[in-house]
Symmetry: C2
Subunit: 291 residues, 2 copies
């Protein structure tokens, strides 16, 4: 292994991996090295371009904070997240499809009762959300846990604003009939954080940073595959050009506009409001892989 | 672009890149997306593995400081650096071969006169280095600039120690005959920094972090391709398993051991010392590409 050149280097690296004990790690690293080298060969990558890549990845890492994950954004904008999500959630037709997790989930969101205002003061037009959780096999799923999160009318999640309370996110339990309802604000389209290296990359590529309006859900219940998905808003101009490639037709739903007046919770609103009704169809564990 | 799944996502991402104005960036991003997706498909990457990868890359970025470049280490240990160096420095046979740049070069190293002690107090056994810079076409290269850098006897470069003066690095000019000589310390093998994520990766892969003993050189002169290389020490146990895949047979040389006594600079040494004689053969600009 003393005469490494552009032809011999790949096999030399793979040979060094020969003694790896973890066979799955070996499989991953073998594929990674082969594709990384093939990329550099195929593009005849120059040293300046290599250095620019090193600098870019370094900045991506250094842009990450406890509330910002720039590498997830990078994965999202290159379509990797959608690919990984899709190949890990092959489900029977009719199940609610999964989509990208995104970087704004928080695992200690506040608990709410059905009917509560998950917006918790977040700026935006009122929206009343309801639906039911069922199994693809037809049964209702009583007491499913729903975690919901969304951006405000200006396109920011609560964690993107310094301090302040949890807003536009929460955990609820569906009732015995699998039904849920809560109040929040209407989803609006927003740009992914684009003041960092991923934003500069999109700009250089002539791509916009916008995501179509959506509401995030994670739905889980014992015996069922956990569903991480969004509901997208019909009519949004970015449905065909989501910056993170998350849209699936089956996840697009109507946010129905209503004039000021009586609201679904029995109160009344001085301003126009919206309603969204969307059911989630879960996949029983053990039926994940149908490919 | 609303029905993205594991089969359609790659073409969807490439289609989005259709309007990119910079044709070279388009070429690079097209290849990158194809190989990144092929890697994820081929390994059937799970969501947990994807998340571990995101976390790993984030740590690599956050380990970088003004004096530590963990992404270069990652590129080096995966053989990418050697590949990029090799494919950008195809030279006529007989030219001194290039090897990896490494992360420890500093561009404002002190200037020294021929014969000076570049070690500047660095711990290690004395070594007297000499040689000549010539062209592959036979001419001597008068006044070539040589930049040299190396680790100390404990395996650390000066920049890895807090504060302190520049040690084991410097810039010299060859004389009118292309000849150079300077004093330093003998090169010893050392581990690359392995207390960070790249070290953990090597450990998980069952690979050691050691580099064979070497002295770094950058040699430049008007009209010639700049040469970035190392001279490796014959007999070193890591010549066949360099953690960064940098060794080329033509770059291995004898560090000749001498007993205490008269040294090449006309002084005398109380302790044993070494000499290294190595000539650099440069490639005239315009002859870089012979492939």
């Amino acid at each position: 292994m003393r005469n490494l050149n552009e032809e011999t280097i790949t096999q030399a690296v793979l040979a060094r991996n020969h003694d790896m004990k973890d066979s799955r790690l070996k499989e991953i690293m073998t594929s990674l090295v082969q594709h990384l080298h093939a990329f550099a060969r195929e593009t005849r990558l120059t040293e300046e371009e290599w250095a620019a890549g090193i600098q870019f990845l370094t900045e991506v890492g250094q842009t990450c904070t406890p509330t910002r994950q720039e590498f997830i954004l990078l994965s999202d904008t290159l379509g990797l997240s959608t690919l990984v999500t899709a190949q890990n959630h092959r489900k029977p037709p009719g199940c609610t499809e999964a989509t990208v997790f995104g970087p704004f989930y928080v695992d200690d969101a506040p608990d709410y009762a059905l009917g509560d205002d998950v917006g918790n003061g977040m700026a935006g037009e009122p929206c009343f959300v309801s639906g039911q959780v069922r199994s693809i096999t037809g049964e209702i799923v009583p007491g499913a846990k729903l975690e919901v999160w969304q951006a405000d009318a200006e396109g920011f999640y609560d964690v993107q604003r310094d301090g302040g309370p949890a807003q536009g996110r929460g955990r609820l339990l569906a009732d015995r009939e699998g039904r849920f309802h809560f109040k929040s604000i209407v989803a609006e389209s927003y740009p992914i954080p684009h003041d960092g290296p991923v934003g500069r990359m999109l700009d250089a590529m002539g791509r916009h940073p916008w995501r179509p309006a959506h509401l995030h859900f994670m739905v889980s219940a014992p015996g069922y595959e956990t569903l991480v998905t969004h509901v997208f808003r019909e009519g949004c101009q970015y449905l065909d050009s989501d910056a993170v490639f998350g849209v699936r037709s089956s996840l697009i739903a109507d946010w129905v506009a209503h004039p000021a007046g009586r609201t679904p919770d029995g109160a009344s609103s001085d301003t126009p409001f919206y309603t969204l009704d969307f059911d989630f169809i879960l996949n029983p564990v053990g039926k994940e892989t149908i490919a």
